[in-house]
């Protein structure tokens, strides 16, 4: 515990407090403490430590933030240091708020979920380790989804990564049963004269349903990568992110996050979100700066996100 935890210390710098995940409550002197749980992942022991902390330093109640952070309610500002120490023993720390990179969120990923195409948990944790808490012009939310179903709403994040595959057919093994085309939700597969499936790349979102249903394992995963979405937000004026990259190799995720933050810092100003800057300068300029050329989605092929496509 440090001197600053003294009850006499006035809560002078609300901004500094907020940077550390301490959020002012309606009640004078009480704060909600947001705990950092990157990718929504916690061990049972950590959850116990959070529960103990809520009873000892808060009012015994918790709230789960919309971005997967447990929040301890009703903490007096003079108990911050004790609470932080308590959390640290379980390997936990406060989350961030304010104009900075927030805890990275995501689904359970391919280690658990049968539909997931990538290891969201490992990828997201690595990005969280590298970029969490960095100062930007506005909030900066990064989200990973394991497949194009996008349960974690990567398409509404400042920067969203979505697992995808490139299916490839081994024609020798194909029995022409047609199941892959029946399973495809995007109408990307049709059968040729011999019943062999033909893929329309522009309709294919890379979900892997065709690979999963193929009885002969003739439809295979030729490559795994990530679709990238940039400039999404919620708030008063929501914006669906631009679809900026496809089949990005996971080794390049850090590079894209880094280049995106650089471009945003260079071209934005206080209070603007990445989506605002993309609106001002155009998505093509953003792509040139942040997305390695081979993986850029051309404007003509950008996935329609403003209307429901069946």
């Amino acid at each position: 515990m440090t001197e600053s935890s003294s009850a006499k210390t006035p809560v002078a710098d609300l901004k500094a407090l907020k940077a550390g995940g301490f959020i002012k409550q309606r009640q004078p002197d009480l704060f909600t403490v947001r705990v950092r749980a990157p990718m929504g992942a916690l061990t049972a022991q950590q959850l116990k430590a959070i529960a103990e902390a809520a009873e000892r330093y808060g009012n015994g109640r918790l709230h789960l933030s919309v971005r997967q952070s447990p929040e301890i309610i009703g903490v007096a500002h003079d108990r911050f240091d004790e609470l932080v120490d308590h959390l640290a023993l379980a390997g936990l720390s406060p989350a961030s708020c304010g104009p900075r990179v927030r805890a990275v969120t995501g689904c359970s990923g391919c280690a658990v979920n049968p539909l997931a195409l990538i290891d969201t948990q490992a990828l997201g944790e690595a990005v969280d380790r590298a970029f969490f808490g960095q100062t930007t012009h506005g909030k900066f939310k990064i989200t990973f989804s394991g497949c194009p179903n996008d349960c974690t709403r990567a398409k509404c994040a400042d920067l969203g990564f979505v697992g995808m595959v490139a299916p490839g057919l081994d024609e020798e093994s194909c029995s022409a049963c047609g199941l892959c085309a029946l399973a495809c939700r995007n109408g990307a597969l049709s059968s040729d004269a011999n019943g062999i499936p033909v893929r329309d790349r522009s309709s294919c979102v890379g979900c892997g349903d065709c690979v999963r249903v193929c009885p002969e394992s003739a439809m295979r995963t030729a490559a795994v990568g990530l679709a990238v979405y940039a400039g999404g937000k919620h708030g008063r004026v929501p914006r669906i992110a631009d679809h900026v990259a496809a089949m990005l190799p996971s080794e390049l995720v850090d590079e894209v996050v880094s280049a995106t933050l650089d471009w945003y810092r260079r071209n934005g100003s206080r209070g603007l979100r990445l989506g605002h800057v993309i609106e001002e300068l155009g998505v093509e300029e953003y792509k040139r700066a942040a997305i390695p050329a081979p993986f850029r989605v051309p404007a003509s092929a950008q996935r329609q996100t403003g209307r429901i496509v069946r």
Partner: protein, 82 residues
């Protein structure tokens, strides 16, 4: 794939929705011996996408798929080894 296979049991899951479609299919497969065939009547769409994938994951084999009455499909699933 299109060969006509005699089935050993039949199941209609057209009145069910996910996840019951697969649960009932799985339970029906478990009553069969290895190598026996279950005929399942499914709606187009979600069950046609999920049942074959789940069956494959658990070591069974889809041996036939053909259209049934309007909006339905008939799957033949051969029970895999334990």
């Amino acid at each position: 794939m299109s060969e006509t296979v005699v089935h050993n049991a039949r199941l209609d899951v057209t009145a069910d929705i996910c996840p019951i479609t697969w649960v009932r299919t799985k339970l029906a497969l478990e009553t069969l011996e290895t190598g026996e065939v279950l005929e399942v009547l499914v709606n187009e769409g979600e069950p046609l996408r999920n049942i074959p994938g789940s069956a494959k994951d658990e070591g069974h084999r889809v041996t036939a798929v053909r259209p049934g009455a309007e909006g339905t499909y008939i799957l033949h699933i051969r029970r895999g080894g334990r």
